[in-house]
Amino acid sequence: MISLNGYLIISFCLFLAGMTVMIARKNIIAILLGVELILNAAALNFAAYTRFVNQNLDGHVMSLFIIVIAAAEAAVGLAIVIRFFQIKETIHIDDATELQS
């Protein structure tokens, strides 16, 4: 049960859930939740390969940087969402059409 495949399946499910959130939701903050799920799936994969395939800790360092980047991404993304809300008074993704025309 506790094998590489177990962790890979969990991380795959996390990735699928994140993608589903990103596709199905129309709320920008909810989409950012999906991004967090996807980044976590990636970080989990790194840690799992470190444990089961090669034992050097480079994978852990990579996971740590993924966590760092996820935090930075959330900060900037949410700032953009807040600014968007201040201008448009909505956080519906379909209203973000300024650049479309």
Partner: protein, 142 residues
């Protein structure tokens, strides 16, 4: 660096379970003995006798977000600095402390740069919105 098994995490799970059992158990036990007769007035949110107007879930001032933003940057920097801080003493003992100190200080100084920027721009001032409103009044007076 001794090895260990995962039993060290056992108390963590046990304590979390205890906390959950305490909360849920006390609420369930209380359900048997406590009275339950809600009236319309009783379940209105308390606003010192006034009738509440609208929902409380409205939007808030953005300065809360800026504080949380600076916090999360510090939080992440802490997560990166903790492992380095752990090995710093060992490097000092083998006489290579200078290089580690340099990289550590570089890291902190970049962090300080961000804080100084926010300080100069007034993001750390809680009452910034008041200044905006006084400016507005001055403009109106002219």
């Amino acid at each position: 660096m001794s090895s260990h098994n995962l039993d060290v995490y056992m108390p963590v799970l046990i304590l979390m379970a205890f906390a959950a059992i305490m909360v849920l158990g006390a609420l369930l036990v209380g359900k048997l003995i406590r009275p339950h007769n809600p009236t319309e007035l009783k379940v209105t949110p308390y606003e010192c006798g006034e009738e509440p107007i609208g929902s409380a879930w409205s939007n808030f001032n953005v300065r809360f977000y800026v504080v949380a933003l600076i916090f999360i940057i510090f939080d992440v920097e802490g997560a990166l600095m903790f492992p380095v801080a752990t090995v710093f003493k060992r490097f000092v003992e083998i006489g290579q402390g200078g290089a580690i100190l340099g990289s550590f200080l570089l890291f902190i100084s970049v962090l300080v740069l961000g804080v100084v920027y926010c300080w100069k721009k007034g993001d750390l001032d809680w009452v910034k919105s008041y200044q905006v409103s006084t400016d507005y009044n001055e403009k109106k007076d002219k």
